[in-house]
Amino acid sequence: VRTPVAVVIAGKDLRQRFRDRSALVLGFAAPLAIAALMSLAFRGTEQFHFTAGVVNNDHGQMASAFGQVITSKEVKSVMATRSYDTEASARAALKHRSVSAVFVVPSGFSQSAAGAHPESIRVLTSIDLQLAGQVADSIAQSFVTQVNADRLSVATAVTAGASSGRIAELAASASTLRPPLDIVSRPSGSHSLKVISYYAPGMGIFFLLFAIGFTARGYFVERRNGTLERMSAAARPGQIILGKSLAVLVYGSASLGTMALVTSLLFGADWGGPLLATAVGIPMVLSVVALTALVIVLARSERQAEGMASIVTFGLALMGGNFVFLSTAPPLLRKLALFTPNGWALRAYLDLATGPHRWSTIALPVVAMLSFALAVSAITAILLRRSEVSLS
């Protein structure tokens, strides 16, 4: 049985590709190295936790109630505390980043809390540690709010007609009140996103896009040195294009597959399981195949092919979110990403990494990528026919 011509051509292209150091570096070594780098960079930083300094200049009843709040079980998961004798030493600690915020309970705080001119709790923050500062402020606010709610309850009761002679009794009664609004925390039903689960596919797809460049360039090199002419003696143009597309498909799948396997096993990236990951990967690789053919048809020379491919590669990678985590970007950028096949692929991998591993999760992205590949192929076919580009 004779091997189909397209397969022979694909085999030749693949042999060439795997002998080329740049293709191996770009398809395998570089994405793995960068994914490893990202995994290391963000290891241990996926939890937000900080230490706050506490300066208690009061030691009264209210100050100790505040002390209990800031060391309570609920607060401990986000903040630890460290006591300082003086405000100066706590400020120095904040300056040197030993602590990320400081609470100062002023002298006379407990006594003044019952009177008409209560003293304030002070929170000291640093300009570079705004998030810790905001959380420290919120923790102090939630304590103060409850105290104020109790004070306000007494004042409202008196305004509404309760006898002002009963203030002590009212205050005691108000301090036992339960807030009328319950905050109930429930799981969102999704997995927490690991940085590597986003950037492993991100980098894998980014380096996959480089295949457009070296395949398109390779085509023009073959045309220059006569290989293409010799091939067309034995094969029809369609078979040559099919063979070359097949080579990109195999190379791209091998590159993305290796990335998925290695990052899943070594760094715990969640690609959504072998079947679903492949179902997303194949239409992405097909889009790359379609784009490669388009660049070949549009370009007139090796240099032009290289230039166009670079622009397509970096343009898509930037728009699709391979470089930056688009979830933190403005909605407009997130919408723009959905004009790119890699944007859809990344959306699918993100949904698989954070949600259920279901076919319905990836259905829309797969359809979108296949539509992209089809549309690009149709444009390529029209251009090919119009310009009557001859392969020979």
């Binding site: 939630s142 905050i183 925390s185 670079s310």
Partner: protein, 385 residues
């Protein structure tokens, strides 16, 4: 033939290459926009809210969340949409105000606010604390009105007005928050982060990719023809080095100009900035010429070069601030020249530093430049023989 003539020829060849121009001008600008728009929001928690309650209470809670300085609020119409935004990490958590919240309170039951999120995810607890504080504010007036109703009769609604009046006349306990420093130790967010870091990233990447030019010249045997001119080896090396220095400087000036005019980036003390740009251009020059002698084919230089540049940029704090990575990676990052350059820009932009403040970073970068240029000229010299 002088070094300047050789440099001019190299530059002219580069200017004709449209791809190089894309990498030099368009790509950095687009990256500045994308990274500038995305690197931000570290100072507030992104919170989704869905208000299913048509009563006054629901609107009050939304307003309290909106006024919290710790919260960047995103309003969604359905719980599913809010849940998806949490899952995709577009928001840290979602606050759902159920349909019955106001009615529950009317009937004397506690109202309920549901917070959806993953407790193990980064920043959940912080965001939860901020939401609790905002919701508690609403809770206080309801508690007061309810207490009054309990003491003197009537309904919660009857006493809400009195609660508001009492709140206005009662001095409340306060929390005062103050910042102990005014000078940042890290780069500001937005374009002031992306413009200087992308300058550092792209000058280096372009220099590495431009190494393809030297390889092409070698392959076309132009150096051999030059030597027959006769031109001394030293002149050829000086010419190529001058060309790469000009490319790096040109690109830096472009990014600085675009950053200042389009994105309002203030580049700090001009003398210190100029010195930093010059030293970084020298680092790029060394890396570019070295790339021209290390890689075998132009394709290797123009494809592996950028990958290497991106990797070093990530390590050095060009893609994200090193303040958010682990301390170990922060230390490791400082083996790259990029991290020293980003540190120097931080001193310039955030701490309004001058040439003297920048001396340690400039010194380290000068050493990198000297090492790279020495190695590059040594290798180029050997290639020419």
């Amino acid at each position: 033939v002088t070094a300047a003539t050789i440099a001019r020829v190299t530059l002219r060849r580069l200017a004709r290459d449209r791809t190089s121009l894309f990498f030099m001008i368009i790509l950095p600008v687009v990256v500045i926009v994308v990274v500038g728009a995305s690197v931000g929001g570290f100072s507030r928690f992104k919170v989704a809210v869905v208000n299913e309650d048509s009563g006054r209470l629901g609107a009050g809670i939304v307003s309290a969340l909106r006024h919290s300085t710790a919260i960047d609020l995103h309003v969604f119409s359905t719980a599913d949409a809010a849940r998806t935004s949490v899952r995709r990490a577009e928001t840290t958590l979602a606050v759902i105000i159920p349909r019955t919240t106001s009615a529950d309170l009317q009937s004397g039951h506690p109202g309920k606010v549901v917070v959806l999120g993953d407790r193990t995810s980064s920043s959940f607890e912080g965001a939860f604390t901020a939401v609790s504080a905002a919701v508690s504010n609403q809770s206080a007036r309801l508690q007061a009105a309810g207490f009054a109703a309990q003491q003197v009769g009537g309904t919660v609604d009857d006493h809400l007005g009195e609660a508001d009046r009492a709140a206005a006349s009662t001095a409340a306990l306060q929390v005062t928050t103050s910042t102990i420093d005014t000078v940042r130790q890290v780069l500001p967010e937005g374009f002031s982060y992306s413009a200087p870091t992308m300058l550092v990233l792209f000058v280096f990447i372009n220099a590495l990719a431009a190494g393809a030019g030297i390889i092409e010249t070698r392959q076309l045997r132009i150096y051999e023809r030059m030597s027959a001119a006769p031109v001394r080896r030293r002149t050829i090396i000086a010419g190529e080095t001058l060309a790469y220095l000009s490319i790096s400087l040109l690109q830096s000036v472009l990014i600085v100009t675009i950053g200042a005019t389009l994105f309002g980036v203030s580049w700090g003390d001009p003398i210190a900035a100029a010195a930093l740009i010059m030293v970084w251009a020298l680092v790029g020059t060394g890396a570019g010429v070295l790339s021209g002698t290390l890689f075998r084919t132009p394709e290797q230089a123009s494809s592996i070069g950028p990958a290497l540049g991106i990797g070093l940029g990530m390590l050095g704090g060009c893609m994200w601030p090193l303040e958010i990575v682990s301390p170990l990676m922060r230390t490791v990052g400082h083996i790259t020249p990029q991290s020293w350059a980003v540190d120097a820009w931080t001193i310039l932009l955030s701490r309004k530093g001058n040439l003297v403040d920048l001396a340690p970073q400039l010194g380290v970068l000068a050493l990198f430049a000297a090492a790279l240029i020495s190695l590059a000229t040594y290798r180029l010299g050997r290639r020419l023989t």
